[in-house]
């Protein structure tokens, strides 16, 4: 029985939280007066027109719908190749590969440190041969591939496979590249992958060299240069997310300028991943503000002249950290909200987590629900019909300008502190993110921040929905390991040694680009960990990050 007065209390319940997660206090209503400082032509304009507040393209989704880019990846290249073909049969036009920990951290699959983790959170890839197996039968000329790899090893293998199969690599489409610039902020144990001894480490240089290679050879490739989604997942707010995104962009623009590549060429290929977190309007306003600032700073700060360099094009990951283990089906509603704000914010692609996010790697069924969620928004809701439908809303325009102001403040502050690399290597970024996550946790535990199923509207665990759990097929991984060992033993060791020594030599030739050296090593069947190990040794570090393997030569 409900307590006396409880029903009346519920009937009278009202909104009590007037502050957005990034700390902007909002009024009860907005009027033209709040937009008095906004000039339509100067600040808003049309979609596809400077400053691109309303979108990068005049037609927006009438020109092309956003990509449904659900991440996928499991066990071995052979098994995952089948899944890729299945996803393409389902009508997906893009693939988003997820790699496992051993691939991401660059260690051998048969090392003790990888035990129990092989192929669990993604596909395991360790050599050109693995990538070749994964790509078997896939239409590389039609696909847009993405993958969040720390090093360019997978991409260089992908390029070699495409070349071998006779494709013109200048026509390849993909989303990937220089994750290393943002990485150490959210993977604090991997700072040396970017920076060591006061400069870019050899692997940092390799990634810069690869960016240069992409800019010179692969104009259709979108350079996924930061997953700013990760900043949010690690505790950052919307203001930090965009300020960091812009600061990293500047760092890359300057590095490429030093290499003689002008800002127009670089910026037109840069494409970040943003987050869609839980405050619906703040997320939309954030995306609109981000586009406006990107355009203005490209033009005014860097003197860009190519409109494409002024258009910020981005993919969105819907926040997974907001998904709960409790009452997991409610996550479908969270995914819908996040997808909707990403679409209204004008993104080019969306990945929304599956409802079993807080339980395990998703089941096929849970992934299908995530894809269907996006399809409901695409085909049933009608929201994609009109470009930037929220423009002119007194509230959304006010919030867009307010966020612009806050983001500019933080972006300028980072610049004053010495730029992205400086605030990253000093630990300032990591501290900001930790402060944010502790603040959020405090609010969740005090009940100030509602989390349905966790601190309000809870049910006893025994009544809760138990999702089916995906467990990777260990036989696929075992089969892979057996084949991998066979492959390693059959290698031409003389050729391999020569290629790795050349790579080591390449690290000393500071005017050279490391990309051709890595191509040579990959073609000599060097494993990814061997390539990474050689680069580590060149910086005076231990060959194996986990301290378990020695350099074979």
């Amino acid at each position: 029985m409900t307590k006396v007065g409880e029903t009346t209390k519920k009937y009278r319940e009202k909104v009590t939280d007037f502050t957005t997660p990034s700390g902007i206090t909002v009024n009860e209503v907005y009027t033209p007066e709040d937009n008095a400082g906004i000039d339509y032509e100067r600040d808003i304009g049309l979609p596809g027109q400077y400053p691109y507040t309303r979108g990068h393209h005049p037609l927006m989704y009438r020109g092309k719908l956003w990509n449904i880019r659900e991440i996928a990846g499991h066990t071995s290249p052979k098994a995952f190749n089948k899944r890729c073909k299945y996803l393409l049969e389902l009508g997906q036009g893009v693939l988003a590969w997820e790699i496992d920990g051993s691939t991401f951290y660059g260690i051998e699959p048969d090392q003790p440190y990888a035990e129990g983790q092989l192929g669990v959170t993604g596909v395991t890839l360790h050599s050109l041969r693995d990538v070749e197996v994964l790509c078997e039968g896939l239409p590389l000329d039609e696909l847009s591939i993405s993958c969040d790899t720390y090093c360019p090893d997978i991409w260089q293998s992908y390029i070699l496979v495409a070349r071998k199969r006779g494709y013109d690599i200048s026509q390849l489409r993909g989303v990937g590249g220089g994750i290393f610039y943002y990485g150490p902020a959210v993977f604090p144990s991997k700072l040396d992958w970017l920076w060591s001894n006061g400069g870019f480490s050899s692997s940092g240089r390799w990634s810069n060299d690869f960016l240069e290679y992409l800019l010179k050879n692969m104009p259709k490739w979108n350079i996924w240069y930061t997953s700013s989604y990760d900043f949010r997942e690690a505790g950052g707010d919307a203001v930090q997310e965009i300020a960091f995104t812009l600061s990293i962009r500047d760092e890359i623009l300057r590095e490429m300028l030093r290499r003689g590549i002008d800002v127009n060429t670089t910026a037109r290929q840069l494409s970040p991943v943003l987050s869609s977190d839980r405050d619906f309007f703040e997320e939309i306003a954030k995306m609109r503000a981000a586009r406006r600032i990107w355009a203005r700073t490209m033009k005014e700060k860097f003197g860009a002249t190519d409109p494409k360099a002024m258009q910020m094009r981005f993919h969105v990951d819907v926040s997974g950290v907001n998904y709960t283990r409790q009452q997991p089906l409610v996550n479908i509603a969270r995914g819908t909200m996040g997808t909707l704000s990403a679409v209204l914010g004008g993104c080019m692609g969306i990945q929304n987590p599956s409802y079993d996010e807080a339980w395990a790697t998703p089941t096929e069924e849970a992934v299908r629900v995530a894809i269907r969620t996006q399809q409901v928004v695409r085909y049933e809701s009608g929201v994609a019909r009109v470009a930037d439908p929220l423009a002119g809303s007194y509230y959304v325009e006010w919030l867009t300008s307010k966020l612009e102001e806050r983001i500019m403040e933080m972006y300028s502050k980072i610049e004053e502190m010495g730029g992205w690399i400086e605030v990253l290597t000093s630990g300032w970024v990591q501290n900001k993110l930790s402060e944010g996550l502790l603040e959020i946790q405090k609010k969740v535990e005090s009940g100030q921040r509602h989390v349905i199923g966790v601190n309000c509207h809870t049910i006893p665990p025994e009544e809760d929905y138990q999702p089916e759990i995906y467990v990777p097929d260990s036989t696929e991984v075992e089969e892979y390991l057996a084949e991998y060992n066979g492959f390693k033993q059959k290698r031409d060791m003389k050729r391999l040694k020569e290629a790795l020594e050349n790579l080591r030599h390449g690290t000393e030739m500071t005017d050279d680009n490391l990309v051709p050296y890595v191509f040579e090593a990959l073609e000599a069947d060097a494993t990814f960990p061997e390539i990474i190990g050689v680069l580590r040794m060149a910086d005076g570090m231990e060959y194996d990050w986990a301290g378990e393997r020695e350099y074979p030569f």
Partner: protein
């Protein structure tokens, strides 16, 4: 005055998802404990050595990318080899329900899942450590 509870926290394995372990480390610290947070990407031996050098009462590890059963099996064996069976071991993260009994069998005292209030973790640690310290006194 009673000795402060000393806790070593961190992550072992190919996984940098540090949000949970930082939040828990902070909560334990706010509850008056001495917390040594080692960060992510640690090796089993490093954590064990820290437990020895810091004379820790508790180890808290977090896993969000799998591997917990294999890693914890190795960890608990090494802990035992060092005669550290009195150390309270707790873990948290994305853990499959069917793995929880296995983990408890090898000596992990509790497995905390997403959505757990840090107050519950603090309460558990205090109770368990008091129990263990009481036991030690009785044995003397």
């Amino acid at each position: 005055m009673e000795k402060k509870i000393r806790v070593v926290t961190g992550k072992i394995g190919l996984d940098d998802h540090y949000r949970g372990i930082i939040a828990i480390s902070d909560a334990l610290r706010n509850a008056g404990m001495e917390v040594i947070y080692l960060g992510a990407g640690q090796r089993v031996e490093v954590v064990i050595n820290t437990v020895i050098h810091e004379d820790a009462d508790v180890v808290g590890l977090s896993f969000l990318c799998g591997g917990q059963v294999k890693i914890m099996t190795k960890f608990m064996a090494r802990l035992s080899e060092q005669d550290l069976d009195h150390v309270l071991v707790i873990i948290g993260g994305i853990i499959h329900p069917q793995e929880i009994p296995l983990l408890k069998e090898i000596g992990v005292k509790e497995v905390f899942l997403p959505g757990t209030s840090s107050k519950d973790v603090v309460k558990f640690v205090v109770q368990e450590v008091e129990k263990r310290r009481g036991l030690e006194l009785n044995q003397r």
